[in-house]
Amino acid sequence: MTAVEDVHADPRVDEVEHVPGEGDMWFFVLFESLVFTSYFCVYLYYRAQHEQAFLKAQAALTLPLGIAETILLLTSSWAIARCVQQTRAGRYLSAQRFAMVTAGLGIAFLGCKLAEWVRLIGDGHTFTSSEFMQHFFFLTGMHAIHLLIGFVVLGVIVYQLADPQRRSRQTIETCSTYWHTVDLFWVLIFALLYIVR
């Protein structure tokens, strides 16, 4: 099926339950989830071994900033979901706007994250200052790399939506699946690093 045929498919198709996007992207989601789960297990193991040291270093984090970052990313997830909805409804201009909003919220998150890193480093909490900070910078850094790839993915959405010949609902769903996955990883990272005491 071509991209154009895909977009103009029978609207009743939407009523049928289906896994959004390419099945291949779900392979990525599962595999990358396994990798992150292994990172989380390592973090929890070392945290259990050195609980007091981790708690002491964890006190340097600003919980309200972590909450604000989480709200930004959850809102971006809502925006990308709206983008998919608008694409399914054939409202491509609106879908493009929601993709831009998603990118804007992602940039705002990254800005907050950079500000947090700069503040922590300024206060003497660096990659090498403690075991907790080693995990903190590693996990948030890995997430930031995933987010940067997410901007490329959002670029694919905007590029596809810009031209009727390129529009593929499946590709847009695939890209949004990636973005949701990155958001899910953040929620878990936030819970582990900021909330668990």
Binding site: D24, F28, F31, V35, S38, Y39, T128, Q134, H146, I149
Partner: protein, 260 residues
């Protein structure tokens, strides 16, 4: 059918030769690094010069014999790079992807594979050398092996981009995404230049154990998919046909010989 007759008539004999060489190379690599020289899993980054001397003494014969094998047969590493380059050439994408991959991996093999063999052999050759120099060789060997994954990372990204853009169906798209997973774990090794202890040191749980688990799965998968490609390949330039059911077992020369 004899093996010779099978090889004479099989138009894909060069591809099969390269594929079997790839399997042989990775098997040799595993035996040499994990069993003979015991350089994997890597030694501790926090060893003192005296402990580094002891590390070399402990593995003296294994290092000399194991890496001698690599110096004789290590050139077969080129076969896997060649086969992957061929797979990218078989795709509908620009040849620039194949050439970039070829050049990147050829360059990466020097610091990421050859340097550790040379450094460890030099250390094992004269065990009575100054401990400070032995310590330097120890660090140089492991850091060059673990700390230079960035070049491999870009190679994985090139392969990923080629697979996702390809219209000839050379590889399934999920393998393109697996390349991304592999590339992302190679990022993790970069901090091994900074840490001498902990999960991100060159022998750490995250930087080594998890990465090796991912890389091991990735290697098994790509060797299997390269075999699958050779079986399906019509040696043309368009989409690679699917293999008819049951044909997979009969497609390579050794299977033909076994089947008579």
């Amino acid at each position: 059918m004899s093996l010779v007759a099978s090889l004479r008539t099989d138009a894909k004999r060069e591809l099969w030769f390269v594929w079997y060489s790839t399997v042989a190379f990775y098997s040799l690599y595993t035996v040499v690094f994990f069993v003979l020289t015991r350089t994997q899993p890597p030694g501790h980054p926090w060893l003192t010069p005296e402990q580094a001397v002891g590390w070399f003494a402990d593995r003296h014969s294994g290092l000399l014999v194991g890496f001698a094998l690599i110096f004789v047969l290590g050139g077969f590493s080129a076969t896997s790079i060649a086969l992957i380059t061929y797979s990218i050439r078989r795709m509908s994408v620009s040849r620039a992807y194949a050439y970039s991959y070829l050049i990147l991996y050829a360059i990466a093999a020097i610091p990421g594979f050859v340097f550790i063999c040379v450094a460890m052999t030099v250390g094992a050759m004269r065990p009575d050398r100054d401990p400070v120099l032995m310590h330097w060789l120890y660090d140089f060997g492991f850091l060059s092996f673990s700390g230079t994954m960035g070049v491999f990372l870009v190679g994985s990204l090139i392969w990923m981009a080629a697979i996702l853009l390809d219209k000839n169906g050379v590889f399934p798209r999920w393998f393109g995404y697996l390349n991304l997973c592999n590339a992302l774990t190679e990022v993790v090794i970069a901090p091994s230049w900074i840490f001498q202890r902990g999960v991100l040191a060159w022998n750490g749980v995250i930087a080594w154990w998890i990465d090796v688990a991912v890389f091991g799965m990735y290697t098994v998968v790509f060797i299997y998919l390269l075999r699958n490609l050779i079986q399906r390949d019509d040696l043309g330039t368009g989409p690679v046909p699917a293999l008819p059911p049951g044909a997979a077992r009969r497609a390579h020369p050794l299977a033909k010989v076994i089947a008579g």
